[in-house]
Structures are given as C-alpha cells and as structure tokens.
Subunit: 315 residues, 2 copies
C-alpha cells in the first residue's frame, strides 16, 4: 500500500464508508479524518459524538449493518429501564454503545479533551488511521424549522431535528452555534497542509461538511489546497443515498443535483466525483468551474468502496 | 393490614429486607424510609444512589439475589465496552441498572431534586411506600484509611473504600462531607414526627445510619421520638451479617457486639431487637439503658422478614 497522506473531511455514514475504502488502498497510518462535531449532544448526562462513533464502529467492522449506526450485537436493557420511568427514549442508546459514552464522559470529567478521548477510543478498537474532531470546543448545529405547524420558526438541536423528528419536517435555516469561538483541534490544519490528497467525503454538505468548515481557519486551509482536493458528490441522480441532504439543499435554496453540489464545492475542490447515473450532467458540472470525474459512487460493498477510493486518490 | 404509620431509617441491603417485611404487615402507603445518601457517587458523569436503588430493586422483587445489589437478569455489555478503553470498571454497572442512573442524571440536569426523582423511580416500579433521601443536598461519607501501607491516612470516598478496596483495608476515621450544609428533604422531619413507630433498620450504624443522623435536625427529631423508636441490631453473635460493620465498629473504638450497638443507640431508641444468638447478652444490653427484645433477626426469607417486622412493630 502507498504511503500517500490523505486527509478527509468527514460526517458520519457516507464518510465512514469512504474511509473504509481509503484504508484499503493506502497505509491507514497516513489517513486523517477531520470529523464533524455539530451533531454532538448531551443526554442523560452523557457526552455523545455520533459522527465520530459511526466512523469508529464502521472501521472496526462492528457497525450495525441494518441501521448504519450503533453497534452490532446490541441489546437495549438500559433504554428499557429508562422507558419504565418515562424518560427520554427518542435517541436510542444500545448497551454496548453506552460504554463509549460512559468512557467519553468520564474522561471529559477528568479534564481530557475530545481529540485525546477520541484517540483513546479508536485505539481501543485497534484503528490505525487518525480520527480528529475538527474542534475540541463546543459547536452545535441548530436547525430552524419551517412549515405551517406550531413548530414554524422553532430552533432545535440537530438531533432533535434528525432523530426525534426523523428529519421529516421542513427546515428554513441552519446555524452553527458557538462556531466563531472555536479553534481547530491540534493537528487539523497540519493535516490539511501536509496531505497529498484532501477528500471531501460524500457526507451531507450542509449539516456535516459545513460545520467542519465553520471552525475558524479550516475553510481557508482547505481553499489553500483546492488543487489537490477531490469532493465526492453525496447526491446521486437528484437524491441523497441516505438522510435528508436532497431536501435540505432544496429547502435552503440550492439545487439538489450534482450541479448544485458542483456550485457548492467549486470554491473548495478542483475535482468532483459524480456517479455514472449523473454522467449526462458532467458538462454542467464543469461549467461550475470544477472538474467532473464520472465513477460508480454507491459503496454497497467493501470492493466498491476501495474502487471509489482509488478513483478519488488518482483523480 | 393495619394503617400504622412507620418511618424507617435506612441504609441499603439490611434496610431493604426490613422494609420488605414491614410492607407485608402494614399498609405500604403508611411506610416511609429515610434513606442514606452518603454512599452516593458520580461516575461516568452519572449520578448513582446505591442505597435508594438497593431498596427500590428489592421491594420491586427485582434485586439480584446472589449479590444483594443490582438487578436480576442483568447484562454487562456497557461495562465490557468501558473495559475495552481501559476505563473505570471497579464499580459494576449492569445494563438494566444503568437505565436508572441515566434517568436520574437526566432529571438532575432538568432541575429536579433527588426526592422528586426518587418518587418517579419508585413509581416506575409500582412501589406504594415512600422512599425519601434524607437530604436533597450533597452529603458524602469519606473514609480515612489506616494501616502500615502507602494508603495510611489517605481519605477516599465511601465507594472507593467499600467497592474498589472491597472494604478490606483498616479505617481510622469517617467524615460526612458537606453534612453541616444540608437540610432534611421535604417530609423527613414530618415522617419522624407523625410515625406511630420509628425503626432503625439493621443497617451499618457507622456508615449507613450515622450519615442520616448527620443531616441537621434529624438527630434531634429522632431523639424526640425515642420512646417509640425500635432499633434492630445489625450485629449478630459479634459479626455483621453482611459488610464491614463489625470491623468498622472495632476500628473506630466501639464494641462489635449487641452491647456496643446498645450503647450506640441508647440515646436514640427505647428498644433494641437482638438476635436469639445474643439472648445471653440481654442483661448487658438493658444495662446500657435500652430495652432488649430477643427475636430471630436474620431475614433469610420473606416470612422471617415479616415476622421480624411484627416483632418491631409490637415491641
């Protein structure tokens, strides 16, 4: 395997699959993921970092393949007890998974920062790549709801939108609470500067990648690497593979096609990988000022993930 | 069943069995337990109240009969994950049990106090008696270790002594941290004043009952009811049935016999129930100024617990 240094801007599920492909084709020790923390939450007194955990569990080969989040072989005894008391149960925490949040919370109380804790957790699963939360500081994606109902104008946390409301309600605005007060975690800017290849994973651009870029210094560091940056479109044939990216893009005034993605990423990346299903839009992508590369992008198997990784690294 | 009002000063296991007997012979709605909180702890960011939970789980018929603490049908998936990271694992938290601590911690964060949370938890298990933490404020039993080793003079929390060191180290002093700043929880003093019978459960007098009495106002309220107060000796034939009460009493300069218990409780209770094994010491008990009642006190079965409850109520 090559010793190429690869740095990946990452959300959850899509980024986890992209990373699983990349570590098949380059030395994992040279791979760094800069991970969104805007979805993090505190619940039951525990500090929960869903994107970091989804990547960790996926690369450990322990992700629940049915849900795409949480661990294989889960049990739900703790949640059953919480439900007995009428407690908060809309955010499902399996018993195995809970151990991660217990550990993270205890280490926070001991004064450790999220980057240190994340390194300990990934070591616990034997991962060789580097997972860095984009910041150790508090940054929270807040969602302003839209529509005719009583929730019109209500601002909720990302997980209250995404999980509690199953992203089934219209959105009128996003805000990255606290972002201006954050700094990049140690190693984030270096990883962007040193990489042979920077990758924007096929994560949700508005709620997974944008909060990463909202940390002061990260967007500029990425723009400085534009020539070596490849984005992978999370939109295939006008739809998100998973989650509400397509609807969110439209609701926020963008085009939910690879052309809309091209427009969004053109200032940041020289190249955009689009799916074969969108080959007919390659010209329109190029017209946005970003070079299109057409390839299969749906990572249904490890082999497809590895093939996409090769495309991204060779682009 | 009689509508006798019974108020019980309670620690964990011994008190739980005593209460299980009492609610067999009087209307449970008239029974109030004033429960020790000195053993409470924060771990993994969770608020844990071992004595409250032991009583709750016992009266719900869900206690793990092998350990005397924790829940039946437990699994340990969360702790297995914590161990994967090298986290704190000396305080065993089963998956079912964890749900109670998640709920309690979430409710604390929402501003509820421990008495309110406890009422919600006992309602969740369908308990009809009233469980009241003796105080809603922070009170922590601190243990100063003794001996020749490097820990001589070290002050640790109760659970660091009791669980982490398996109460296998000598003790030179106890301190109830924060006690002077606490107030009795609502209902505590009323329950003492209104009871037809006050019971001091066969809990550890130095680390379970004494912290209850350390809450300003409680000791005086108990002394005012001395004539109607019955204590049950936790020492039988010179030994504690469970835990380190016998050793602790000796290490702190007391006599680990029913006579030592008599001396300890004489200012607080008119009557002391001692086991048949200690019948020969009845005279020495009486000489301490407390009336001895001899009865079987080892609550091996629900029937024996009910019989002891009858003895205590009729004494």
């Amino acid at each position: 395997m090559s010793n190429t240094l690869v740095t990946v801007l990452a959300g959850g599920v899509g980024a986890a699959r992209m990373l699983s492909g990349i570590i098949q084709v380059v030395e994992p020790a040279g791979v760094t993921a800069l991970v969104n923390v805007g979805d993090d939450l505190e619940l039951h007194g525990l500090s929960i970092s869903p994107d970091l955990d989804t990547i960790t569990y996926t690369l450990a080969g322990e992700i629940n393949p049915e849900t795409g989040w949480g661990l294989n072989g889960e049990s739900w005894q703790a949640m059953d007890t919480v439900k007995r008391y009428g407690g908060i149960s809309w955010f499902g925490l399996g018993d195995r998974d809970l151990g991660t949040h217990l550990y993270r919370t205890q280490r926070y109380r001991e004064g450790a920062n999220l980057a240190t804790i994340t390194a300990e957790i990934t070591a616990g699963w034997g991962l060789a790549l580097k997972l860095i939360p984009v910041t150790n500081d508090r940054l929270r994606t807040m969602v302003t709801l839209d529509g005719d109902g009583p929730d019109d104008g209500l601002e909720v946390s990302f997980q209250e939108y995404f999980v509690q409301r199953r992203h089934g309600v219209p959105v009128k605005a996003l805000r990255f609470d606290g972002a201006s007060l954050t700094s990049p975690a140690p190693g984030v800017l270096d990883a962007l500067a040193a990489a042979h290849r920077v990758v924007i994973a096929p994560s949700n651009p508005v709620v997974s990648i944008d909060p990463v870029l909202a940390v002061p210094g990260v967007r500029d560091a990425l723009i400085a690497r534009r020539a070596d940056t490849v984005a992978v479109s999370p939109i295939v044939a006008g739809a998100a593979l998973k989650g509400p990216a397509d609807r969110l893009l439209k609701e926020l005034g963008h085009e939910a096609t690879v052309v809309g993605i091209a427009r969004w990423y053109a200032p940041l990346a020289a190249t955009l990988v689009i799916d074969e299903a969108d080959a007919g839009l390659a010209g329109a992508v190029a017209a946005e000022g970003i070079r299109p590369v057409v390839a299969p992008t749906v990572m249904r198997t490890p082999e497809l993930a590895a093939a996409l990784a090769r495309t991204v690294l060779d682009a």
